[in-house]
């Protein structure tokens, strides 16, 4: 078995163990070990990205590459069958792009953390744990394993914000923790429901003695699925599973279970499947974050130290979007098509509301935090359109926003390092004293507002094209929704250009009270080291979109076809079973 995915997850953990064993006063070695750990992860990610075959068929349910599957937990539940959790990893086009992003941002984050002075050992320990769990999220194909990594992200993040953060860090840390925990509890309910409803056909066949353990064949799977639907399997033989691909196949659902398409079960006049979709969606929407559950994000960003902000915006938010693509839509395609206007509407609301908020902010970091909310709205819009372009665009947006938001937060970090302040009104004409810095700010701002030539442009273009063609191709979104979303582009131009004008152009001036402690000087080598690669990447993926689309395209197309086709089919069944 190829262990590249396992090594991707556990390389940072290994580095974390080394850091743990180092004596506390050895700060520099701790940093070096962390850097080596992150670098190793990046190299593995690049190798994986290159080796990944982007043209092989994939649609979320099948077509995973580099699969690793091991039994982890399994015990008998008596008359209720078996409980089974697998250590199940695999990548498709969607995850491989996120893995690459995590690798890149992980290294940038370590470089940016070089200036941490307080409790260095603890900091890097938590940082590396965070990298492990994020990577785990992107690679897990077993819901239980995914949930484990998903929950485990909270803890390092809580401490990273709460110990190394700004003045109001404790409030922000707790708010972050509670918000995301509530979200993950929603996810937990649905996870339990799915596990109670879904079986692993192959393992069930082994349990029944149909074929020998370890033998796999498509016919046996089909036979078990048929037997399951005819209710001729002894319940004690059913092997319940958390496997995400198994959950995407309606034939794997136990006929009497609440989440079966034909169960007819309802709650508050909605099919239970729809409720389950809404709960899962809410859980991941908090992470994305979508308006109106976004309020933790500005607080967390403002208080978090720069590298943690970078990681939060660039990678952690993507877990939300990734969860929607990997789990929510393919498992509940019926509800996904049914609620597409809701999802798309929340996306557009996030775009506009986030942008309007950004326009009103005086704190540069808050401005960027709200711009994140606005940009992640495009991910929801693209997904809801369910067109090939839209889904491609959503994934492209996640990747591109990862690169660009990392750059944006680094840029804010630079001015905060110099002046210990980042209020827009306290600075004017910075371009005169910090020309190189201003160049990167301009690059980051323009990349983010979607200037052609940068990756953000491709992403927004794809999403909008998808949104516009959705009424004709998939019948998902009303056209006016996409038209409103375009306003978001205008607003983005407005808040970025306005901030640029206020802070960087004109005559040089900074607020008098800041002058004493502020040391305004241009970029250092370390800062170049972080900003140059990110700027290059933003340009590279803006000019050669096929670098990413070649890997993502097939999976995105497969995803949208699977969801559309199964969605309409299952929606019909669900609604008909309701009437009965």
């Amino acid at each position: 078995m190829n262990l590249i995915l396992t090594s991707l997850i556990f390389t940072p953990l290994l580095a974390a163990l080394v850091v743990l064993l180092l004596p506390t006063r050895l700060e520099r070695p701790a940093k070096t070990v962390a850097l080596l750990g992150a670098l190793a992860q990046l190299i593995l990610a690049v190798v994986l990205y290159i080796q990944f075959n982007g043209s092989a068929f994939a649609n979320g349910q099948e077509g995973y590459q580099f699969v690793e599957k091991l039994d982890w937990i399994s015990f008998s539940l008596g008359s209720l069958g078996h409980f089974q959790v697998q250590y199940f990893l695999g990548v498709d086009g969607v995850s491989v792009s996120m893995v690459l992003l995590t690798g890149i941002v992980g290294v940038i984050g370590v470089i940016s953390s070089w200036t941490i002075t307080r409790n260095v050992k603890g900091y890097f320990l938590l940082y590396l744990l965070l990298l492990t769990s994020v990577m785990g999220c992107f690679l897990a194909l077993d819901f239980f394993l995914f949930y484990l990594f998903f929950e485990f992200m909270l803890l390092p993040m809580y401490f990273l914000i709460g110990i190394w953060g700004g003045p109001n860090r404790e409030y922000a840390a707790i708010k972050f923790f509670i918000y995301t925990l509530v979200g993950s509890l929603f996810i937990l309910v649905v996870m339990i429901g799915l596990y109670a409803s879904v079986i692993d056909p192959l393992a069930t066949a082994w349990q029944m003695g149909l074929v020998e353990r370890g033998v796999a064949s498509a016919e046996v799977v089909q036979q078990v699925q048929q037997m399951l639907q005819q209710k001729v399997i002894n319940p004690a033989d059913l092997v319940r599973t958390f496997s995400i691909p198994a959950m995407m196949e309606p034939a794997n659902f136990i006929p009497d279970s609440l989440l079966h398409v034909l169960s007819g079960a309802e709650l508050w006049d909605l099919p239970v499947r729809f409720i389950a979709f809404l709960l899962l969606f809410a859980g991941f929407a908090i992470k994305v974050p979508a308006v109106p559950v976004h309020t933790w994000l500005p607080d967390a960003h403002v208080e978090a130290p720069t590298p943690v902000s970078v990681l939060l915006a660039a990678v952690l938010l993507k877990v939300g979007g990734y969860g929607l693509i990997r789990i929510v839509y393919p498992v509940f395609p019926d509800a996904g098509t049914y609620f597409s206007v809701l999802v798309g509407g929340l996306g557009v609301l996030s775009i506009i509301y986030g942008a309007l908020n950004a326009l009103a902010m005086n704190d540069l970091k808050k401005l960027i935090a709200y711009s994140s909310v606005s940009h992640m709205g495009f991910v929801l819009l693209g997904l809801a359109s369910l067109t090939t372009e839209g889904v491609n665009g959503a994934i492209y947006m996640m990747f591109s926003h990862g690169i660009i938001s990392a750059m944006l937060f680094l840029v804010v970090g630079v001015i905060y390092d110099r002046a210990h302040n980042r209020m827009i009104q306290n600075f004017r004409g910075l371009a005169r004293v910090m020309p190189a810095y201003t160049t990167f700010v301009v690059i980051a701002f323009f990349a983010s507002l979607g200037l052609p030539g940068f990756s953000g442009f491709i992403a927004e273009l794809l999403v909008l094209v998808g949104g516009f063609s959705a009424p004709d191709l998939t019948g998902m979104l009303p056209r006016w929704l996409t038209i409103v979303a375009i306003l978001g582009l205008l607003l983005a131009a407005a808040y970025y250009l306005w901030a640029l004008q206020r802070m960087f152009f004109g005559k040089y001036w900074i607020f008098p009270e800041l002058r004493e402690q502020a040391v305004i000087k241009d970029l250092t080598v370390r800062e170049y080291l972080m900003l140059v690669p990110l700027a290059v990447l933003a340009l590279l993926f803006g000019i050669f979109p096929h670098l990413l689309l070649d890997k993502v395209g097939v999976a995105a197309t497969g995803f949208s076809e699977l969801v559309l086709q199964q969605g309409q089919e299952q929606l019909r069944l669900v609604l008909s079973s309701m009437i009965r």
Binding site: W72, I73, S74, F75, S76, L77, G78, S79, L80, N119, G122, Y147, L148, E151, F152, L154, L155, Y158, F159, G162, I163, R169, E170, A173, I174, F177, I178, L181, V182, L185, L188, V189, I192, G193, Y195, A196, S197, D256, S257, L258, A265, L267
Partner: protein, 501 residues
């Protein structure tokens, strides 16, 4: 006359034939008598040996129950006790709880300073463990009552270990008053059942059949009265009022024991008793009442914990909320939940002893009395801080710790039961249980928050003894192991359950 003789000889025969079933209990009783006798000697050497003697007794009882094979007779013992897999497994838990209590006591410095009553203290712990064994084995209402009283009386005296302290006296008094009240109510309810069924043994078939014939309202009233007594022992609402004061006043090792031992035993008693009412057609009222009690326990435990200023009171209400979770688990009729409940109880044992040990260390070494007393402790002593975080996360029910696994199993049972019966009560239970986990995080996180986020104002360099550290690790290991390999424990439990039944 002849009849009486014949009956007497029959009874004696039954006792002799079944005595083997009671081997662990007999062992504990013997060691208790030994301890009390030896306590009469004034030699300091003998006094210092007393805790080790108690430990030996508990270890012996633990060992024979782990090894098994001592039962000579299947079925009931005199219509009173049942030695089945549940009793054997929980017996192991009780002995473990007793051993943990003794270990904590040995590390407790205020107990050392106690001038008299050492022998009594260790002896009573043995009696308490003995009572717990009997509770878990009882299938007879009267026997349940006697067993609960054995545990209660031992608990009252243990609460009063520090007789000279005002807090302890207050706690003891409240405990006794509540205890006496609920015992009376319970006994009253039991008399109803005897009247309705003509039997005190509720594990026989006739008992349930007779209840089906009886007036539903009467059965409901009787059940409510009896459950009052059980709820007192597991600290479920509305019989939880004693908890906070007792936790505040009793020595910490004893508090740790209270939060686990009687809870486990009480849950087993309820587990055996509630099965009688599993038929929703006849006993919907009983179920409804139990469901309301479970929700109330969860809500009161979690929300009241939010306002607590001292760690002891916070953990008291946390223990109330765990009682609520267990009640939720017990209501998942239709799902085979014994295994999951026993798993949860095992995890609870480790978590609670761990967190109380942490509390004992911080109280004794650092004089922490309030939550803000923890400020900066974790920064100064990362090892202790990290261990505390581990226990608290497990109590909250977050991965990767066994507390999560326990909750997951209970919730999936409830889901299963809901999809079988479509009873909306179960859905409400599920939703309450899951949402209150977020509330639980809110108060548990206060401790790590103080440990790590607050500034350090302490400069003294205290050394935490190695035995304390080892014990902290000992309690934490199962939490990690049973998250990553819960099947190890679950399969063992399954084996035990299948073996003797």
């Amino acid at each position: 006359m002849n009849e009486q003789v014949a009956y007497l000889s029959q009874t004696i025969e039954a006792i002799v034939a079944g005595a083997g079933n009671l081997l662990p209990e007999l062992l504990l009783a013997t060691f208790f008598l030994l301890l009390v006798t030896l306590d009469l000697f004034r030699s300091p050497l003998i006094k210092s040996l007393l805790p080790w003697l108690a430990l030996t007794g508990l270890f012996a009882a633990l060992l024979i129950q782990v090894l098994g094979g001592y039962t000579f007779q299947q079925g009931f013992f005199l219509d009173l006790l049942l030695s089945d897999g549940i009793a054997r497994y929980t017996g192991i838990l009780f002995c473990a709880a007793g051993i943990f209590t003794l270990l904590l006591s040995l590390l407790n410095r205020s107990l050392e300073k106690l001038r008299y009553g050492h022998g009594e203290y260790y002896g009573l712990i043995l009696v308490l463990v003995l009572g717990l064994h009997l509770m878990a084995k009882s299938v007879n209402l009267l026997m349940v009552f006697v067993a609960i009283e054995v545990v209660s009386i031992a608990s009252y005296i243990l609460t009063l270990t520090f007789k000279t302290e005002e807090r302890a006296v207050e706690a003891g008094l409240k405990y006794i008053l509540y205890g006496a009240l609920s015992a009376g109510v319970m006994l009253y309810g039991m008399s109803f059942f005897y009247g309705l069924t003509g039997s005190l043994n509720y594990a026989v078939e006739g008992f349930g059949a007779a209840l089906l014939q009886a007036d539903t309202l009467l059965v409901t009233v009787a059940a409510v009265l009896v459950f009052a007594g059980f709820f007192f022992k597991i600290a479920a609402a509305p019989f939880h009022f004693w908890v906070a004061d007792v936790y505040q006043g009793a020595p910490l090792p004893v508090v740790a024991l209270f939060s686990t031992g009687p809870k486990i035993a009480g849950i087993v008693v309820i587990l055996r008793f509630v099965g009688t009412f599993a038929d929703p057609l006849f006993f919907a009222d009983v179920q409804f009442f139990l469901g309301i009690a479970a929700i109330a326990t969860l809500a009161i435990g979690n929300f009241t914990a939010l306002w607590q200023k001292t760690p002891r009171r916070l953990l008291a209400f946390s223990s109330v909320s765990h009682a609520g979770f267990l009640l939720v688990g017990l209501l998942a009729f239709g799902a085979d939940y014994t295994q999951s409940i026993l798993f949860y109880l095992t995890v609870l044992l480790c978590m609670n002893f761990g967190i109380f040990l942490f509390l004992q260390i911080s109280e004794e070494a650092f004089g922490v009395a309030k939550l803000d007393g923890f400020a900066g402790l974790g920064r100064a002593y990362p090892f202790i801080g990290v261990m505390a975080v581990l226990y608290l996360l497990s109590l909250t029910g977050l991965p990767p710790l066994a507390g999560f696994m326990g909750k997951l199993l209970i919730f999936s049972n409830v889901w299963e039961a809901y999809s079988l019966s479509g009873n909306n009560l179960l859905l409400v239970l599920l939703a309450t249980g899951i949402l209150l986990t977020a509330v639980a995080l809110f108060y548990y996180i206060k401790i790590p928050y103080n440990l790590f986020f607050k500034r350090n104002f302490r400069e003294e360099n205290l050394v935490i003894s190695l035995s304390n550290k080892l014990l902290l690790v000992l309690f934490a290991l199962p939490l990690l192991v049973f998250f990553f390999k819960p099947d190890l424990l679950l399969n063992w439990i399954e084996q035990l359950l299948a073996q003797i039944n």
